[in-house]
């Protein structure tokens, strides 16, 4: 056991918190997607850490799945952003305001 679990968790928590903060304060849609990626990858780090800690491969498989899911999510996000861009030429989420109340 090289690096203790604690370091994994610190990095993971840092990434996750960074991502969450990004979601809360950023307005650019592309950056929002980026922030979400950060959160998912934070979780991935933790998964690998736990996987090593318990000495099982489950966590690594989980991480692999997460990567694919994250990619799919980003691709769809980008696709939608492109569509919005073509229609309205905005990238600011706060401009998405037709639906409210």
């Amino acid at each position: 056991m090289g690096i203790s679990l604690m370091y994994y968790l610190l990095v993971s928590g840092g990434l996750f918190a960074l991502g969450l903060a990004g979601v809360l304060i950023r307005r650019n849609m592309l950056l929002l997607l980026l922030a979400v990626e950060l959160m998912l990858n934070g979780a991935n780090v933790a998964l690998i850490g736990f996987s090593r800690h318990w000495d099982v491969t489950d966590g690594q498989i989980f991480a692999l799945v997460v990567m694919v899911v994250a990619a799919a999510e980003v691709v769809i996000g980008l696709g939608l952003i492109v569509a919005v861009y073509r229609q309205r030429i905005v990238l600011d989420v706060d401009e998405l305001d037709q639906l409210k109340g």
Binding site: F16, M29, A43, W54, G59, G77, Q98
Partner: protein, 479 residues
């Protein structure tokens, strides 16, 4: 390897095959091929599921478990999807992309079935994500309509955050127990006595937040009205029923199934978000002028009622919850069908005002939606009443009397807004400008009849249905 995963396999194959006919040159095959394939595939999967009703079977090395709960939930998902397919036949969103639409719809069902039958945490996440990703696209399917696009994008961004919370929570649960298998987790938690363990508790809090988001409980509900309003109406109906059911069954699998021994840890937070959902949903629905938006708020409140069943952590609670879920699916679909019809018939079809006098002009739809709304409001003898009554009873039994009181008061408040469309539907005179401009098509008639029958049958056959629900609940809670 046995045939227990066959329904899911059939659904996957359906999703793949449904794409093919839409590549044909414009014409009958291209137009009717995808929905037809979807219907055939869904019915086949449903039939297969019914045959699998029985004791638990494992597939994929234990990653997928087919027990009575899986089968029951699969049938609920498929029923909802079938009605959605029927509703969508003439939906504008499907005009140019029929293959994608139906294929994604079935793919979402695949994700739901995976959630219902999953044997490990990976399946919970993967299933939820499969259905979410498919729905992000479906919501935004009407790309030329800014609102639909906006709904899809909002859902995606906030949904991704929800997924991340869920994932992080599952990671912690894995970290605290050292296993991703739900059955192993259950054993580990019991043997090691992990009640109050900080890592596990943090994990559970995150999972509750993530799944609560998917089930649209408060205070994770803020996306719901916007997305529900913006999405194409059949998709909204599908989200309000099947997606919610999937999130609820994920709750059941993780909490009532694997983590039942630390029920003291998760009961209170679940009860709190259930109560908040009931309050926020019912109160928010009161002032809505749009029927579709009102139903969105209503579905938030209904998520609260459903979560009561999870929060009890008892056999009776789960059983009541399953029954209410079946009933809820039928009555919500029925209410949304009317929106779909009016939306296509007149310009302002989403508003409650546009329903004026509609009941007398089209008695069938009028009666169906009236029955559905009465059921939602919890009028006896309809299934909504039985379900709520049982859920509140289960809450009292589990020492959550305050939650039952919140539910009952919320239910009383909800009568005010559920009745308003009915009054408009039967009471008022149609405005002259409300003449029909567009033919909704036959699919909606069939869907309407199916939903109405669903409500009536669940009400009359309450007793046998409750027996099935008990067996399904036992499959979950008993080993």
């Amino acid at each position: 390897m046995n045939i227990a995963a066959l329904p899911m396999m059939i659904l996957i194959a359906t999703a793949v095959v449904a794409l093919v006919p839409s590549l044909a040159p414009p014409g009958r095959v291209r137009h009717l091929g995808p929905p037809l394939v979807s219907i055939v595939g869904l019915v086949a999967a449903a039939g297969m599921s019914v045959l699998l009703w029985g004791d638990r079977q494992y597939t994929f090395y234990g990653a997928f478990r087919t027990d009575r709960l899986t089968v029951l939930m699969t049938l609920i998902f498929i029923a909802s999807a079938l009605v959605t397919v029927l509703m969508s036949l003439r939906e504008p969103a499907t005009v140019d992309r029929r293959g994608e639409y139906y294929s994604l719809l079935v793919a979402a069902v695949v994700g739901m079935v995976l959630v219902a039958g999953t044997g490990d945490l990976i399946g919970v996440f993967l299933g939820i994500e499969i259905l979410s990703v498919a729905l992000y696209v479906l919501c935004a399917m009407e790309v030329w309509r800014a609102r639909s696009l906006e709904a899809g994008l909002k859902y995606l961004i906030v949904g991704a955050v929800g997924s991340a919370l869920l994932l992080y929570g599952l990671t912690f649960v894995f970290g605290a127990t050292g296993s991703v298998s739900l059955e192993e987790i259950s054993d580990i938690v019991r043997v090691r006595g992990l009640g109050g363990e900080p890592l596990l508790m943090g994990g559970m809090a995150l999972v509750i937040a993530g799944l609560g988001f998917k089930a649209s409980a408060a205070p994770f509900h803020m996306w719901v009205p916007d997305v529900y309003e913006g999405a194409p109406t059949p998709i909204t109906a599908f989200m309000a029923t099947a997606v919610k059911a999937a999130a609820i069954v994920a709750f059941l699998r993780v909490f009532s199934g694997a983590l039942i021994d630390v029920v003291d840890d998760w009961q209170m937070p679940l009860a709190v978000i259930a109560a908040l959902a009931i309050i926020a949903g019912n109160v928010g629905a009161l002032v809505q002028q749009s029927f579709k938006r009102m139903m969105a708020y209503s579905s938030i409140a209904q998520a609260g009622y459903l979560l009561i069943g999870v929060a009890t952590g008892t056999l009776l609670g789960v059983r009541s919850l399953l029954y209410y879920l079946i009933a809820y699916t039928a009555m919500t679909l029925g209410a949304f069908i009317l929106v779909a019809i009016r939306e296509r018939e007149v310009e302002d079809g989403q508003s409650i005002a546009s329903l004026a006098g509609y009941g007398r002009r089209s008695p069938l739809h009028g009666v169906v939606v009236t029955v559905c709304l009465f059921a939602l409001a919890g009028f006896p003898p309809l299934s909504g009443f039985i379900g709520k009554f049982m859920l509140f009873g289960a809450a009292v039994e589990a020492d959550l009397t305050w939650l039952a009181v919140v539910g009952a008061v919320g239910s009383a408040v909800s009568v005010a807004y559920y009745l308003r469309p009915i009054f408009v539907l039967w009471g008022e005179d149609p405005e002259p400008g409300n003449a029909r401009t567009f033919d909704p098509g036959d699919g909606l008639w069939v869907a309407s009849v199916l939903a109405g029958l669903g409500v009536v049958v669940t009400s009359i056959l309450a007793s046998p249905l409750l027996d099935y629900c008990r067996e399904a609940a036992q499959a979950l809670i008993a080993p």
